[in-house]
């Protein structure tokens, strides 16, 4: 499992997915090719399911494009752990079913090469020899995350109600 460490603050959506591709790439495989291209051009080739990203404050600021959250979910990133997240990105991650963990203490404690493990059910992240707890999402968002994103959540509700659209 890889841990990608990007300690800087304010990593914006253009760094996570360049705007010039936003209207020509929309599927997981298309997005993967350019994911984090201007931040770390080696990311796309290295990332594996179960990997973790650790970053600073205001991760995902800028545009409302969902390619970063959709792409990270598609390549199987288990969680992004950051000191804080930008609002639209946070919301988008819930909509994609991507786990975000806001834990400035865990980010501060992390040193290059330290093992990192995430236990979403327990609300805990382990960094090296220490365990940090993170607050659970509000119920409304947790339900969306557990259903694997907003559209799966909507499908489930409509199926349960026997609705057409």
């Amino acid at each position: 499992m890889n841990v990608f460490h990007y300690p800087q603050n304010d990593i914006n959506t253009d760094l996570l997915f360049p705007g010039k591709y936003t209207y020509t790439c929309s599927t997981g495989p298309e997005i993967k090719e350019h994911l984090l291209e201007d931040l770390d051009s080696s990311f796309s080739g290295k990332v594996q399911p179960g990997d973790i990203i650790i970053a600073g404050e205001n991760f995902g600021c800028g545009s409302s494009r969902e390619h970063p959250s959709l792409g990270l979910k598609y390549v199987g990133v288990k969680a992004v752990i950051a000191s804080s997240f930008a609002r639209i990105f946070y919301r988008s991650a819930v909509n994609q079913g991507l786990l975000l963990i806001q834990s400035p203490d865990a980010v501060d404690y992390y040193t290059e090469g330290a093992p990192v493990a995430v236990d979403p059910a327990a609300g805990e992240v382990r960094v090296g020899d220490r365990i940090f707890s993170f607050p659970s999402l509000p119920d409304e968002m947790l339900e969306i995350l557990r259903d694997g994103g907003l559209l799966n959540h909507i499908k489930k509700i409509q199926f349960a109600r026997g609705d057409g659209a």
């Binding site: 603050n9 304010d10 914006n12 959506t13 253009d14 760094l15 360049p18 705007g19 010039k20 936003t22 209207y23 020509t24 929309s26 201007d38 404050e57 205001n58 600021c61 800028g62 545009s63 409302s64 494009r65 969902e66 959250s69 959709l70 804080s84 930008a86 609002r87 639209i88 919301r91 988008s92 909509n95 994609q96 509000p138 409304e140 968002m141 994103g149 907003l150 559209l151 909507i154 499908k155 409509q158 057409g164 659209a165």
Partner: protein, 419 residues
Amino acid sequence: MGETFAIKILSRAAGKKVSEGEIVFVEPDYILTHDNSAAIIGKFESTVPGGRVRYPGRIAIVLDHVIPAASSTHAAGHKKVRDFVREQGITNFFDIGTGVCHQVMPEMGLVKPGSIVVGSDSHTCTYGAFNCFATGIDRTEAAGIWITGRTWFKVPETINIELTGGFNAGVSAKDLILTIVGDVGAGGANYMAIEFNGPAVGGLRISDRMTIANMGIEMGAKIAVFPANILTSKYFEALDIKITDAVWSDHDAEYARTLEYDLEEIIPVIACPHQVDNVVPVEDMAGMKIDQIFLGTCTNGRVEDLKTAADILRGQRIHSGVRMLVAPASREEYLKAMNMGIVQDLVSAGAVVLPPGCGPCLGAHQGALAPGEKCLSTANRNFKGRMGEKEAEIYLSSPETAAVSALTGKIRDPREVLK
């Protein structure tokens, strides 16, 4: 204790008294999407195959980001959108050339004081200029709202920004909001609402308020909002819309923070690469050679901005070492500028006029930068790679600074010219 704008408007929408931090479900008055509608249609159709949108009358679609289509892939996206709006009976569809979505939405009367609008574009917060609770969402959520008609919000805390005084010559709303972004920081208003209050608010034109509200997101804000006043009423009277639902905070509303700005103390500033909160006085950057100037966007592409530039450039030539691109924010603004002779002035001075739309702001077409080039832009973002090339540099300024710099091909303090 009194209540903020955010508490009041979300209480009304939720049909109950709400408090900060609470999650509420609301049905937005409008859902805006643009070229990204093509991808949203894909999500909609895979979630509810053969389904109908819940409220066709609440959907607004503006093609503005890559117009006219830069490639057959873009063209196929536009075609998909045109077919979909016909099939679904979506009448608030505005095809290429109408303008940038954030200019078109108010022009078409789809943004009203006291309303709630979401858009799959981060600069949807622009409508705060019209006393609207307006914020950005992603494509997936837009598809979800097309299906269900509703979404959720966490009731935000509010930062109060008190404005006094008036601008000196050569200084404008863009300098104010860049100064504020520099002070608050790129994440300083994350998840929060921003209210603009104080005696100077009444003196800000609608175009100024739009420039300011537009950049609320550059501090992470959920909304950035102004009270409705006489200028707001006049704007909507011209559209034959009566304001009935305007909302504003109580005098004793409780704020997380209050910041005060005296407009007389604001000086021309510039946001340097590669962050919007990297703000310095223009005089510190004076003399730096630039390759391209871009006047336009949802931040500064209105007739007031074009006139500012034309007044500076009239009868003169843009420096041979720099190219200047101008994109009017909408067809309406373009026509106004034509009728006032502004387009004539800009083109005579050597500017290249682009169709009303987002132009080179997002780096997908029209005026992309070469490696190593520097662009002075009136847009709202200077992120690395934003204009299509990660080895290029983008500097953000007011229309005044952009226009005076066009004459020398170097960054220049507008107060040298405007006195």
